[in-house]
């Protein structure tokens, strides 16, 4: 298991956003988290990536307890993520946005940038650029490298975010509703892209409302409702689980 979430709870001023959550993500698997709005999915992502401190429990990544670590150190350990609402750095170019992804794996400081003591800094910059270009090609946006990020169509911005997360070369990548706002064609491409990322051996934790996409590509699905885990299993099990159906369709009278 690459990620172990044990008895995790999160409260906001007494409101129980998540209680007693246990989820294990296996190496190299696509693991989907689904549930109605307000179930606590994004809160869980924020706990994993360190945006929030958890109230109770423990999160381990590659057998290291990470829930005390600052977000950037979790990224450095190998957790990449995208956001539900796209958060690119608007005034920078697409390529620069992806280059930021390698920040914690590179070293050049302010003084060295300025004085350029050795060739090392220039080499590092070149390597960063090549790496970023490679990932832009991977998501199919190399031709837009020099455009300002905020000028891209929404679906492409989502892909840039994925490229930015990949630039870090993470072992686990958290995708928060990557298909939101995409049309059918774009969703199909995304579907293929996620599988491709998975084939590279990266584990993927996925929040998604598009059930077709989820059922097709996920190896394991965890269902949350009102901050609690109500089901877990492969897609066929989830589809026939009465609790899940109730959560989505409401109590049948």
């Amino acid at each position: 298991m690459i990620l172990n979430i044990r008895n995790v709870a999160k409260q906001f001023n007494g409101f129980h956003a998540l209680s007693n959550i246990g989820v294990d993500v296996a190496e190299g698997k696509i693991h989907a988290i689904i549930g109605p709005n307000g179930a606590g999915k994004t809160t869980l992502f924020n706990l994993i990536s360190g945006v929030y401190d958890l109230t109770e429990g423990e999160i381990r990544f590659k057998d290291v307890v990470i829930n005390q670590l600052k977000p950037h150190l979790r990224a450095k350990l190998g957790i990449g993520r995208t956001f539900q609402i796209v958060r690119l750095f608007g005034l920078m170019s697409v390529l620069e946005n992806v280059m930021i992804g390698t920040h914690c794996k590179t070293r050049a400081g302010l003084l060295k940038t300025f004085l350029r003591f050795s060739r090392k800094e220039l080499t590092e910059e070149k390597a960063t650029r090549e790496n970023a270009t490679r990932w832009l090609e991977f998501v199919g946006l190399a031709h837009k490298a020099d455009q300002t990020a905020s000028n891209l169509p929404h679906a492409e911005q989502r892909l840039v975010e994925i490229a930015r997360a990949l630039a870090l070369d993470p072992e686990l990548i958290l995708l928060d509703e990557p298909a939101a706002g995409m049309n059918l064609n774009e969703t199909l491409k995304l579907d293929a892209l996620i599988s491709k990322i998975n084939q590279m051996g990266k584990a993927i934790l996925l929040i998604e409302h598009n059930m077709e996409l989820v059922m097709e590509i996920s190896h394991v699905i965890t269902v949350l409702n009102f901050g609690m885990k109500i089901a877990e299993g492969v897609s066929s099990e989830i589809q026939n689980n009465p609790k899940v159906i109730e959560a989505y369709l409401g109590r049948k009278k």
């Binding site: 360190g50 750095f89 005034l91 920078m92 620069e96 920040h103 914690c104 302010l110 910059e125």
Partner: protein, 285 residues
């Protein structure tokens, strides 16, 4: 001629000050205390020259370094707070520095610090510093740290999650800003020969902000342009000279209404590139 040199020197120092505000500003930290760092650099370098006989360049570097170190320590509490709170923190810092200088007899207290050795080549030195800053900022734009600065400035939470150590980025930006302001202060002190705490009050910090915002905040040419133009123009138009500050104020309000990104924006640079390539292209054909 002497008059021209004096105006140009002051413009050079103000460019340095505007850049000292701009660097932390890039990471989303807005400082109302840059005049305080300038004061530290000015007094620090003046003490080096007058009391210890240290030559000009090292004296100024020492003054700048002291300001940078103080910047580091002010930067630590600044990490935890944002927006209006940070503004108040830096404002309080600047005022405390000024009041401290008013009370220290060793450096002349409220009466000021006279007898600082005059630097003949202040103009040269201030523009050497401006030149260094141009190289620094243009390299920064295409560097790892520069990208991190921009990222933290536009969305620090997102930047942290994707692996940017925002604590170190913000501290580095803040203390480097302090260092730059200290250098500006040192050059200023050795040009004026006499400094007093009143020269570094909060309205001066405000002036550096006005330069930056007027010039433009998207790229570093903006604050440079703003500081230079707003210092030079009033000196040459008598009418404006008298109403200089009122004009600054009105300009600031009008800019905020019509073009909040400042005179020089990314679009300006792209436009200039287009025009220049068109002219060059025509010349070639």
């Amino acid at each position: 001629m002497d008059y021209l040199i004096s105006v140009a020197t002051i413009a050079g120092i103000y460019i340095i000050m505007a850049m000292s505000f701009y660097l932390p500003f890039m990471t989303g930290q807005i400082s109302l205390g840059q005049a305080g760092f300038m004061a530290i650099g000015a007094y620090g370098s003046a003490v080096c020259s007058v009391k210890f006989g240290i030559p000009y360049v090292p004296a100024i570097l020492i003054g700048g370094s002291v300001a940078g170190i103080v910047g580091f320590f002010v930067g630590i509490p600044a990490l935890r707070i944002k927006g209006i709170y940070l503004l108040l923190l830096t404002l309080g810092f600047g005022e405390i520095i000024r009041v401290v200088f008013i009370n220290v007899e060793y450096i002349g207290a409220a009466a000021g610090f006279p007898g600082i050795p005059y630097q003949d080549h202040s103009l040269l030195y201030s523009y050497i510093m401006v030149f260094i800053l141009i190289i620094f900022f243009s390299r920064l734009r295409k560097s790892r740290m520069g990208r991190a600065f921009h990222a933290v400035g536009s969305d620090e939470d997102a930047a942290e999650v994707i692996g940017v150590n925002i604590t170190s980025v913000k501290l580095i930006a803040f203390s480097t800003g302090g260092f730059i302001a200290g250098i500006g202060g040192g050059i200023f002190a050795h040009y004026q020969e006499y400094i007093e705490p009143l020269m570094f009050d909060v309205m001066h910090s405000v002036e550096f902000i006005v330069f930056t915002i007027f010039g433009g905040i998207q790229i570093f040419w903006g604050p440079m342009f703003g500081a230079f133009v707003l210092t030079m123009i009033p000196e040459f138009l008598r009418v404006i000279q008298e109403w200089r500050m009122e004009l600054f104020g009105a300009l600031l309000i009008i800019m905020m209404i019509l073009r909040p990104q400042g005179v020089i924006g990314l679009d300006t640079i792209q436009g200039l590139k287009k025009v220049s390539s068109r002219i060059l292209g025509r010349g070639l054909s």
